[in-house]
């Protein structure tokens, strides 16, 4: 489902004398449907950078990232937009939403974008929020005022609202209590069971051990000549 070959990344800092930072070279990995792969490596090794490149958020310097047959590195913006809407989900560490939009609609949004009716999308959103123990009275409020843990769970509900065939999870269990952590892990299990290819970053080793089939140390993709 997800195939990465010979991927490299550089940052050119035009406003700092044009310094070129080479942060990744020769990255390669494959994730099959139903498989969950963890990215590991020390802080700064490039886990998030790699994940952002897979999502198309960072531009690759060279190489290929094929997701469901589309090479993100070469794809036109509209192809990436469609991929993100239909195929590739992403649960980031931070919830970025419009102020004022009720939590229920924030979670329903990915389904609405795919043309689901408001009622159907809200039903699914309610189901997930309930499962993730967000109290119903909060559903009509904007999540911008929520605690960090609540925001995290809203973000997860949003990421799992549509059954994406490919999922990127950035620290999905961080700052969650044991009960909610268990819910998230079972959501991941269910996604795997329906055939989703998942790439995740988990600092939580126990969680990683429970849901991940393999680990890939991104330190191996560090540029060889880099200082």
């Amino acid at each position: 489902m997800i195939e990465i070959e010979n991927l490299s990344k550089t940052f050119t800092l035009h406003n700092q004398g044009g310094a070129v930072l080479r942060v990744m070279e020769g990255a390669a990995l494959r994730v099959a449907p139903g498989e969950c792969v963890a990215l590991t490596g020390a802080s700064g090794a490039g886990k998030s950078t790699l994940m952002r490149m897979i999502y198309g958020n960072y531009r690759a310097a060279s190489g290929r990232i094929r997701i469901g047959g589309l090479d993100i590195v070469q794809a036109a913006p509209r192809e990436v937009i469609r991929l993100r809407r239909e195929t590739l989900g992403y649960v980031s560490q931070f919830l970025r939403v419009l102020p004022r939009v009720p939590t229920l609609d924030v979670v329903a949004e990915p389904l609405r974008a795919l043309g689901a009716s408001q009622d159907a999308a809200r039903d699914r959103a309610a189901e997930l929020l309930k499962r993730l123990n967000i109290p119903a009275p909060l559903w009509q409020l904007s999540p911008t005022t929520f605690s960090g843990g609540e925001q995290q769970r809203v973000n997860i509900a949003r990421g799992f609202a549509h059954p994406f065939p490919a999922l990127l999870l950035d620290e999905p269990t961080a700052s969650l209590d044991a009960a909610n952590r268990a819910v998230v892990l079972s959501l991941i299990d269910e996604a795997k069971a329906r055939g989703a290819a998942i790439i995740g970053i988990f600092h939580d080793e126990a969680a990683r051990a429970r849901v991940c089939d393999r680990e890939i140390d991104v330190s191996a993709f560090a540029p060889k000549a880099a200082a």
Binding site: N57, R59, P77, R78, I81, L98, R100
Partner: protein
């Protein structure tokens, strides 16, 4: 996914005397897409928008629009009646200042109904029902249908302008700083409304703004302009999070983080 862009701009150039306002701008906009154009004041973004929308004549270039009847046609070579008809039906233009886009001496209902009457609606009750429906959709109390926009707040005026523009079900909306001059809380409400309308109506939109937060929330794609040239274009979050061009990097790093 359709293979015909809704709008295809090719080599659009406009000068003011020796000054290049926008030079050789090309892009495609696909159905349902929202594209942001950002850049500092004087970078040519508003000139570009007005050239595309047929309000200003460019010196060179083409603006191909996928018309309902005849497929892609160069808007710049259309006759004036055709172009004006297009801007009353399939196109909409939301001005920065609601006063430029509303008739301040006409009631809210009359403002919304004008475009319907312009395309031949002649049934008062039907027009009024549409106006009420649209006021509700833009979150204005329909009881205020007979009030003039002069009695509305800035945010309400802007929402009324949007209702007035969208009532004929356009496919392409041009917006020039739609949230400029509004309070932050009012901006958020407007952005939410716009996003919902864009999604529910399948609108395509081009939004000119200098506010990067606005494009992050509304636009799928982003074009960065400097001194009349497009210096970078791509997915909105990619351009903002991993800017490639020197100017874009400067622009993004200049924004205050909240």
């Amino acid at each position: 996914m359709t293979d015909t862009p809704l709008l295809s701009v090719v080599g659009l150039t406009r000068r003011y005397g020796a000054h290049l306002a926008c030079g050789d701008v090309s892009f495609d906009l696909w159905p349902g897409e929202v594209m942001g154009i950002v850049g500092e004041s004087g970078s040519g973004k508003t000139t570009l928008l007005r050239c595309i929308a047929g309000q200003l004549a460019p010196e060179a270039g083409r603006v191909m629009f996928d018309t309902r009847a005849d497929g892609p046609r160069d808007v710049l070579r259309m006759s004036e009646p055709e172009r004006r008809m297009l801007s009353r039906t399939d196109w909409a233009f939301v001005h920065q200042h609601a006063r430029d886009g509303l008739r301040m001496g006409v009631s809210a209902g009359g403002n919304v109904g004008e475009r319907l009457m312009a395309v031949g609606a002649r049934n008062y009750a039907t027009i009024r029902r549409s106006a009420e429906d649209w006021l509700t959709r833009v979150e204005i109390d329909p009881a205020r249908i007979d009030d003039r926009p002069t009695t509305f707040s800035g945010g309400m005026q802007q929402r009324l302008q949007i209702a007035r523009n969208l009532v004929t079900g356009p496919r392409l909306v041009f917006m020039d700083e739609p949230t400029g001059g509004l309070d932050v809380s009012v901006q958020a409400r407007l952005l939410d409304l716009l996003r919902g309308l864009v999604r529910d109506m399948g609108l395509s939109a081009i939004i000119v703004t200098h506010d990067l937060a606005v494009v992050r929330l509304l636009a799928d794609r982003l074009m960065v302009m400097k001194a009349g040239r497009v210096v970078e274009a791509g997915l909105t979050d990619q351009v903002l999070d991993d800017p490639q061009d020197a100017y874009t990097q400067l622009l993004v790093s200049s924004v205050l983080q909240v």
